[in-house]
Amino acid sequence: MAEATFNAEVARQAVGVAANPEAAITGTANPILEAARVRYSAGQAEESLKVISGEVVPYTEKDVNRVLLWNLSSKRDSTTGEKQDPTNPNEDQRFRDSKQLAESARKFIENGHIDATLRGPIVTFLTKNSPAVASVIAEMNAAGADVNAFVDGLMKTPGFRENLRTLFIERLDPSKRLSQEGSVNNLELDIAKLKAQLGTEVTQTQIDIARTELDTAKSALTPHTAELIQLQAKNNKFNELNDEIKSIKEMYNKNRGVGVALETNKNDLLTQRTGLDPATQQTQIDSIDVQIKKIDGTPAYANYATAKADLAEYSALPGEIAALQVGLEPIQQDIQKKDDALKALIEKQKTNITPQKKAEIEADIKLKTGLLADAKTTLEAEMIKFYREVTHMGQDAMEKHLNSAFTTVKAMWKEEAAKQAAKDTTEEGKRAALAVEKVQNLWKTKTTKGGLTFYKPDRNKAKTILDEAFKAGGGENIAVYLETKTAAELGITAEEHTALKEKLKDPDFRKAQSEGLAKQALADYLIAGGRLNKDMVNSLATTDFGKALITEARAKVDAAKQMYKDQLGNGVLDKSTRFGEYFKGNWWKWGIGILALLIILGIVSAVK
């Protein structure tokens, strides 16, 4: 390649997406990756790494509070529809408990801090529901030991934190919603719509009431009858004058010249007449009357006077009408309003639903009300289930932790025995190894489902085998048991039994496989819910098999202590802590139980 073609820019292009991967990152459904992606996109690469590494939970406190609110409160803002803090006392209690537990779980996951809120339910669970640990705790209580410190130690064993973190992520997923909430809302809406349909129906009673109200309004006019008549007359007169106003004005204008002059004359005559004494001046009065009569008889004057009077009345009438209406109008408006209401009701009545339709709607409302009650009950159950999931995160994580530990130790012991058995690759050796494998079904219950056969550990049957191991002689008793029982009793073929008996003559095989079977029985006993009670602890402490198991386990625990010292942090297994004290002075009081727990908790698995 020519040097000129390879420069810094080309190199930058060659780096490409590898150097700028953010360009390729889009949304994801995985909550951890999604939370990491969001932080990364916001320029918080280190925070993003913390989410991926499990150092912090992927949800913010706000996310958690929101999902708790959504799933534990039925209260909503009437305008926005947003969920609000619950007001119902039960919901409020659940909301506060869940919030507290979620906060405690976060503190433990992110900082390793254990508080009473998180520990309390775990202690209760271990005491009441964990057969493997309950007796150990009971004996610790009896001996006055600090159970809380013991439980704190269990919580800090590898695996528990991760279990809790997984449950935290699953159960507080911010997208989680109550499935029944939609049904409740839809049913409430349906019922409201149906009720609205019934609500629009106009009954005869409503019409009768409206009519009565109209009559009452009308009766308020009775005391004002005279004004009403006056008003009517004035209105009529005004309308009449209004119709003729044009011709009246024409007549007025046409006769005005003559009319005004004659009117002046007439007024003068009337003035003169007023000053005369009828007793002495009757002749003059009569003369004036003749003149006035003459003026009045003049057509021009008569027309002028009539037109003038009409115009004056026309001008005065609006004021008079208005004066009358001041008192009458409110009554008339009320009458109008009542009349309109009655007419509207009569009109609406024409569109009324039929009685049959009404019955159908009522039946529908009844049905949906029942469904709503059921949906509300289911919703409440869902809320309680969510509440349980959140507040039981600690004990569920511990249960999973213990079960996982039982399974881990079983697999570990099985592998040990299988390695020894696999050394002999002859046909006989393989047959003997198969026999050992099949003998383990002795303490299992066989069930068939869908054509498949399952073997489920039975703690009572497992205890029978364990009892053999706990007798003097330990694992050797199991070997004798295998030799003396028939093939049918052991659940193997005659050929397999022959091969097994032959192989049991090999001391290494005899020891490893018989003790291996006892260990498998012990693990299955615990998996099937067998109690690690006082008798069992005594057997472990005093029998050959038990002592051997503990000696072997102690060596592994010591190695594990060293290995996990850093991981456990805060010196959980150090002798300086209270947890460490269990390995010292009080060891024989409850040490075996704890040692057995450490074995089953899989601490030893890393150094097997």
């Binding site: 810094a8 190199a11 150097a19 280190e46 913390k50 991926i52 499990g54």
Partner: protein, 107 residues
Amino acid sequence: MDQNLSAEEKKKNLINKITGILLDEMLKKKVDQELGQEIATYILNQSKNVKDDKSLDDFLRQLAEKYSIFKLYFVNSSLENQIKKTDEEKISSIKDQLSKLANFKSQ
């Protein structure tokens, strides 16, 4: 890598790049959650030791050796640094020559 940036800024930029690569690989399902968790923990723990350019280079080299998803970035990043260094040396050399030339003319 920009030589003008402080060690802390360079470290921040590097962490940003490698987090992007890790997220990208996880989203493409080429790295599962368990391995992703291990890698993220490794980056968080080991990056604490980065104090200067040398420890930054060492950190990236060891990361690429341990987890192959960072190999391409490590190679390209080293190459880019090398090219930049060469370019800077060339520019510096030209500047020196021009300076000498200028001094020669003015004499």
